[in-house]
Symmetry: C2
Subunit: 224 residues, 2 copies
DNA sequence: CGGTTCGTTGAGATCGGTCAACTCAAGTGG
DNA sequence: CCACTTGAGTTGACCGATCTCAACGAACCG
């Protein structure tokens, strides 16, 4: 299903790549090696593989996911430029990671980072707080999953807006299927909910991948 | 709603307190101070409060929870003897913690632990891995929430069994409401699902708070 | 111009929620 | 000891949100 394609340039969505780096310390993976490209839909690592490397996203969008026994897929998170992903506390990856668009990542050996953390307290602190940030996002995500479809979609849009450059216009690099699997809904329900939010003037959907937030208050109200 | 009762002995469920400590290193909070008791339903700390202390559960059961704006409640986790809880990466508690039964906890000042971590690498490592374990549990919890009611309940029972002394009999210290709020269901659905699992001989429910797992295979199959 | 993929929309089915009645066990107080 | 109360849990009937299945539309690409 997923192509483990050799890195090459395909169709990338330029609008999602203008966002500046976000993390404050960012010292974990600097000057580690060359930037490595992955093509759209390429697998960066697989669930259960040894967590040999830690990644920092430079360009593009990445999703992490798990496939359940019966074929259902759950998206764990979306990552944008500046985000660190693939950092595991245990020795293997608990999710797979795939490139949503063509991406560029910085890679560092996990063992190197761990060794530095054992000497340098500030590196250890960065490790801890990166994991803490991951935990925090997971908590937010979990809270989304107990809500109604409309609330989940509204929460998703606000989250994406908060992480994009513009708070008014959200460019979605991911497909409806990705959104549905992130929110625990079907693509039909996601699509219908977009339509519904549009007809209530909370958002506008000029193209499928571009959402304009017209009434943040209404969305925030749904966000509980 | 919650009584912030002064610690005293009320009705505790003895069956849940025989489980041995679980965490391997456990060095974080040893010899910190006296064991502190909390009465059933007492709040140990509140969401948003400064995370001044870290707790290790000695006896009883604790839940963490969040109340949403509209009154819905989400249980974040259940903690059993040996578990560390209340350890935050940020400076405030992201959930509240309440005693489900009468409990005893060990308490350590977070600032003290952080100071030690800044000197002692192994303490820093313990901090990191405790947060990693929390993250792992949250991932499992999140996976539960995308499933059907039957799968959620089956997954919950298997989780509780894995954390209890006996793999065959689960003593539930928490109410149906707690279970429902953990699983994102209503108490009626939880109750009906128990009945349903019982009539399919996957479990037996001799009393409301005691569940016997009669067919782990069937439960595990539901667990995807 | 077909073919393919992605997204939208509609109609009907189903799962879980809501509301309500009932059971049961554990107090409580006369 | 026995009503009475109270809280927790169970069960039933009904309803609505979301899923399923299917058709349709739009964009892209050979």
């Amino acid at each position: 299903m997923l192509m483990r394609t050799a890195p090459h340039a395909t169709s990338s969505s330029p609008a999602t790549q203008t966002r500046p780096a976000a993390h404050a310390p960012c010292g974990l993976i600097e000057a580690m090696g060359a930037q490595i490209p992955f093509a759209r839909n390429a697998e960066i690592y697989g669930e259960g593989e040894p967590a040999e490397y830690v990644y920092k996203l430079v360009r593009g969008t990445v999703r992490t996911s798990k496939i359940l026994a019966d074929g259902r897929r759950q998206i764990g998170a979306f990552y944008f430029p500046g985000d660190v992903f693939g950092l595991e506390v245990g020795d293997e990856h608990s999710f797979s990671a795939e490139a949503i668009s063509d991406v560029t990542v910085l890679v560092a050996k996990r063992s190197t980072i761990l060794a530095r953390a054992a000497r340098d307290t500030s590196v250890a602190q960065e490790l801890w707080s990166a994991t803490g940030q991951e935990l925090h996002r997971m908590q937010e995500h979990l809270l989304l999953l107990i809500k109604s479809a409309e609330e989940r979609v509204a929460g998703f849009l606000l989250e994406m807006a908060a992480r994009s450059r513009s708070l008014q216009v959200v460019e979605l690099p991911m497909s409806r299927q990705d959104i549905a699997d992130y929110l625990g809904l079907t693509i039909e329900t996601v699509s219908r909910t977009f339509s519904q939010l549009e007809s209530s003037s909370a958002i506008a959907v000029p193209t499928a991948r571009r959402i304009e937030l017209r009434n943040r208050t209404a969305l925030a109200r749904l966000n509980s």
